[in-house]
């Protein structure tokens, strides 16, 4: 039967053309296509891997940031507490010194007042003694004649003397 009898001519052309087709397609189509497909698949895979890595890195970064923040917050608290303590201490010291100084000044003033008072008292005593001497001298010198005159005289003298 014709239908199942191979034809020599067709077999020849089929072999030649199919091999030619296979060769050309392999060189100009299949190789570049397969290479591009593999390349694209590789790039997608590497992109996915990189995304995963970036995610992990982000998490690490976030964790690091949080740690840093916590450290900073702690540091701040510590500094504040220290400063407060220092301020309190400073105020305390200043207060003590001021009290001391005040006490010392009061004592000095008291001493000065005492000294001045003593000096004044000594002068009053001296002046009183001098006056007594002066009066006694004048009385003695004028040789008293009468009593009224003497009285008057004493009064005069007393007028002169100003008791301060």
């Amino acid at each position: 039967m014709d239908l199942i009898t191979p034809q020599l001519g067709l077999l020849f052309w089929q072999t030649v053309l199919f091999l030619l087709l296979l060769f050309i397609l392999t060189k100009f189509a299949w190789k570049p296509i397969m290479a591009s497909l593999r390349e694209r698949e590789d790039s997608i895979e590497s992109a996915l891997r990189m995304a995963d890595q970036a995610k992990i890195e982000m998490q690490q970064l976030k964790a690091g940031n949080e740690k840093l923040m916590a450290e900073a917050r702690h540091e701040r608290d510590r500094t504040l507490a220290e400063a407060q303590q220092m301020a309190t201490q400073l105020i305390e010291t200043a207060k003590t010194r001021a009290t001391e100084e005040g006490g010392r000044m009061i004592t000095q003033a008291r001493e000065a007042i005492q000294t001045e008072k003593n000096a004044a008292l000594a002068e009053v005593r001296n002046t009183a003694a001098q006056l007594s001497l002066d009066i006694a001298e004048r009385i003695l010198r004028r040789e008293l004649t009468d009593a009224p005159a003497q009285q008057k005289l004493v009064e005069d003298y007393l007028k002169d003397v100003k008791l301060n």
Binding site: Q14, F18, L21, T26, F28
Partner: protein
Amino acid sequence: MKHLLLALCFLFTLPSFAAEPETGTAEGAKSETFDPGKVIMEHVADDHEWHFATLGNEHTGTHITLPLPVIAYQPTHGLSMFSSSQLHASETHTYGTVKLEEGKLVSTDGSKLYDFSITKNVASLMLSCVVLLLIFTTVAKGYRTRHGAAPKGIQSLLEPIIIFIRDEVAKKSIGPKYERYMPYLLSIFFFIWFNNLLGLTPGAANLSGNITVTFMLAMATLLITLFSSNKYYWSHIVRPPGVPLWLLPIIVPVEIVGIFIKPVSLMVRLFANITAGHIIILSFISLIFLFKSVAVSPLSLAFGLFISMLELLVALLQAYIFTLLSAMYIGGAVEDHHDADYQMGYDDGSETTHAAH
């Protein structure tokens, strides 16, 4: 089923059949009788010219044909090349020393003739090669111009198929060495598929349903299988592990015949499927002429259309099956067998067979 169908057709046409008296048969019953077998065989067989249609009577009407080059080599007369229209111009279908007899070229003096003509099938083959080259170089260009980008146009249509052949056919059937065989597998897949589709277009040749073409493709698979086979492949044929010694005289010839049965099955499967599809469609259309009635045509066309749709599926399916089986045969030849995995020894096969089960 077939009888039922015929009876159905007959029922449909009965009234019109009766109404129309014998008009055409009056002038010569012999030339007018329609022989569907002959017409169908003419359609599925090869030819030296590309015949599209006949206007009017077969003998007196005009034939719309594309003459094709005839290339004949006769050892006694040398090489002759001429247009096939020269053969049909003469009453005896003869040109020089070449004569066309029953669709075959023979020498007028009875000497040997080798026919290398560009027949309808060869022309169709060339056309399909050009189409394949144009399409796949365009696809490859797409990868070059849009490097690393998403596929576009025809590239995105064919890329999933290429990936399917690679992942589902080559990788699964051949294994890690699949890459070497990818060009061949892709080529036969698209060659068979495109030619199946081209064969379905009206007026086209029945290339992939031609036994010569399927023979060549099956031969290519056989040669690739044999040339890439490793020692395990042959050791499993000449000394199948785990088979009792007394069975070997039966098993070994069966295995050796099996090497050749596989490509023969490939060849026959593709040829028979595609040719059968063509014959079925032509048979349905022939019904109209058999019953000489227009009333049959709706039924014929409906069935013809249905089979055509089925053929579209078969076109893809047969290409896939041919490629898959080729990949499996190649895979069987390149596979690394480790006898340790089977826990089979060579010295006492019968015992280890029991152990293995």
